[in-house]
């Protein structure tokens, strides 16, 4: 259905970023959808995305989705419906010095603020979905934190899909720039009504300049029939710190490409992830950590819980450039398979081009421990309860690291698939 997108583009071309969008659609046209022969897509078949004619959104009734926007993070919340900013469900409480708003409004009123930064970090050269997103970039979030500003309240970016009939595609775009020493917590949530078929194709770019601190959460709870593809690219300056949590619970197919470039001395990155899939869900994380400068540290822990016939993919790549001496990088992927038909493909990779570094990586795939289960049952806990406790225990290593109370609480309650 590549042509559907090309036709949609012809109807929406022009306006702000016209050149960028033109280059992106050309790139998408050249790359097309992955066929499965590409190394990056070996285990994840995007056939259902490629073969469905997702329409451009046509305006949905916001009131119908109002309940979704009443969560505990509503104090500072940007809400989007099918990729379009919805002011009636938003509440932008931010310090005056922060330039923040919908990307559409910035592109309309002050495109010069956006243009120098957009698409500088999430390259679409080889990433067809990023190209597609960029070709259709219209709306999303622009957040520019000036030097030294600290936002205490988590900034919630809530992406809702209306899913009221025709399958639609949205291309949310987020651009966060934290100037020197700025600090913020950003939470992206992706949600849709159960049963809805739609396609979310998101791109987020985060720039953390010297000593900036960004705590980033991505919580994906799309409809079980939805498709979710996201690219998150972060660029870190000297002594900047990024903590990223990718929580992937929903969607029929979810693919996350999450990357960070440590482009200043002493930058620090934590990439954590928790994915849970059941039935025939596919959840795929590709991560890349690029140590470009010395004294960088990175820790990466991804944990997966797979039940039914679900399939998990973890592909984690750490590159240490020749210049990046004294790098310290640790990468771990652990998977818990709850059924005999669940499957995971894990591929941790280190590419080290410097000689004075500490790097290690590892992956495990296991089942619930029978001795633990028996021990718990012998104390009176039911089999399901015992399994649930053990799954929570497995996930708690990630959940306990989540600093936003509302997400931690929510995660405690929604690891639900368990006993089969």
């Amino acid at each position: 259905m590549k042509d559907t997108y090309l036709a949609q583009f012809e109807k929406s071309k022009g306006g702000a970023l016209a050149d960028l969008r033109r280059r992106a659609i050309d790139r998408f046209a050249a790359l097309g959808f992955p066929t499965g022969r590409e190394e990056e897509w070996r285990f994840t078949d995007v056939g259902p995305i490629a073969e469905t004619a997702f329409a451009a959104p046509n305006g949905a009734d916001a009131s119908r989705l109002a309940d979704f926007a009443k969560g505990p993070l509503r104090a500072c919340q940007f809400t989007f419906i099918d990729g379009r900013f919805e002011p009636s469900l938003s509440s932008l409480k931010l310090p005056k010095s922060v330039a923040a708003g919908s990307l559409a409004s910035f592109l309309a009123e002050d495109p010069k603020r956006v243009e120098p930064h957009l698409a500088r970090h999430a390259s679409f050269e080889k990433n067809t979905f990023a190209a597609l997103n960029t070709a259709f970039v219209r709306d999303g979030v622009f957040l520019h934190l000036p030097r030294g500003v600290k936002i205490d309240e988590p900034v919630h970016l809530l992406f809702l899909s209306a899913a009221d009939g025709t399958p639609v595609v949205s291309h949310p775009r987020v651009l966060v720039i934290a100037e020197e020493g700025a600090q913020a917590t950003i939470v992206e949530s992706y949600l849709g009504p159960a049963g809805g078929t739609y396609f979310t194709n998101a791109v987020t770019e985060i720039v953390a300049r010297e000593a900036a601190v960004i705590d980033y959460y991505k919580v994906q709870r799309e409809s079980p029939k939805a498709y979710h593809v996201a690219t998150v690219m972060a660029h870190l300056g000297r002594h900047a710190a990024l903590t990223s949590h990718s929580i992937s619970l929903g969607a029929a197919l979810a693919r996350n490409d999450i990357g960070a470039v440590l482009d200043g001395e002493g930058a620090d990155v934590t990439l954590n992830g928790l994915y849970e899939a059941s039935a025939s869900q596919i959840v795929d994380h590709h991560t890349s950590i690029d140590h470009a400068k010395p004294h960088g540290t990175s820790r990466e822990l991804y944990k997966g819980i797979l039940n039914g016939k679900a399939r998990g993919v973890f592909d984690g790549r750490i590159v240490v450039r020749p210049d990046a001496q004294k790098t310290n990088a640790v990468q771990t992927n652990k998977n818990l398979l709850l059924s005999k038909d669940a499957l995971v493909n894990t591929k941790p990779q280190l590419e080290i081009n410097a000689n004075d570094v500490k790097c290690k990586h590892g992956a495990t795939i296991g089942q619930l421990d029978r001795d633990m289960l028996f021990y718990m049952r012998s104390r009176g806990l039911g089999n399901d309860d015992a399994r649930r406790l053990l799954v929570h225990a497995f996930a708690s290593e990630i959940i306990d690291e989540v600093k936003v109370d509302a997400i931690r609480t929510q995660l405690g309650g929604c690891l639900h698939i368990l006993s089969s």
Partner: protein, 245 residues
């Protein structure tokens, strides 16, 4: 309380229990002794319902009910407790939280109101004193990083909290120093009551200096070959198992 009749069980292809008969009444403490690999732990596991232990013959009645037909959790809820020789570490599951869930599952089974956090905390603090359990271990994950002695204390603490009708304690004394043995023995003695039966499975008689049994049985090669009283345990201590055939 417990009636074991002609119990045969195997692990894989190997017959381990070859016809056990044992009757335990409420209020009694029985010691089951025997050399290594005589089937003592197998008996304990079979009573608790561990998988991969196949009962090939015989029956076990617990308070008149068919124990072998029950799931492990139902046995626990009906009042059977197994003290493990090697208590399992459960990372990520808090010790107090675990015990509270277990106790409430048992209470629910009996139609009793579940205890809330405050009520449970009061109970567990009282019981922890009984086994001199350091408070910081209560908030740690179950048995994780506990010393051997701390794990055994935790077993006795769980027994005290869950208050079973029948406690089967599998080698609870193994790996304990004298001080820990005294504490554990004291904890077990405090649990002795007219309504409760305790079966102590042990290789050595030294625990029996603290927990004086009413009956002693010697298990050799999957059968009880001799039964007696306290003196039998002392004889075994001085003469070993070789003289019993």
């Amino acid at each position: 309380m417990l009636e074991i009749r002609n119990l045969h069980a195997s692990v894989g292809d190997k017959a381990v229990l070859k016809g056990i008969d044992l009757t335990v009444h409420a209020g009694e403490v029985h010691a089951i002794m025997g050399p290594n690999a005589s089937g003592k732990s197998t008996l304990a596991y079979v009573l608790a319902g561990r998988e991969n232990y196949a009962v090939t013959q015989g029956q076990v009645l617990f308070r008149g009910k068919d124990l072998l037909a029950m799931t492990p959790e139902d046995r626990a809820r009906e009042g059977v407790f197994l003290g493990f020789q090697y208590p399992v570490e459960i990372p990520g599951v808090g010790n107090t939280y675990f015990m509270k869930n277990a106790l409430n599952a048992i209470r629910k089974h009996h139609g009793q109101q579940e205890l809330d956090a405050a009520e449970f905390l009061a109970l567990v603090k009282e019981k922890a004193r009984l086994v001199e359990m350091p408070e910081h271990l209560m908030n740690r994950p179950v048995n994780e990083g506990f010393s051997g002695g701390e794990k055994k204390r935790n077993e006795i603490l769980q027994m005290a909290v869950l208050s079973p009708a029948l406690a089967v304690l599998d080698e609870t004394d193994s790996g304990l120093d004298i001080d820990a043995l005294r504490v554990i023995g004291g904890g077990i003695n405090a649990m002795r009551s007219r309504d409760r039966a305790i079966v102590v499975v042990t290789h050595h008689q030294r625990l029996l200096d603290y927990v004086v049994p009413d009956h002693v049985h010697v298990l050799v090669d999957g059968r009880i070959v001799k039964s007696g009283h306290r003196e039998l345990a002392l004889q075994l201590e001085s003469k070993g198992y070789g003289w019993i055939k």
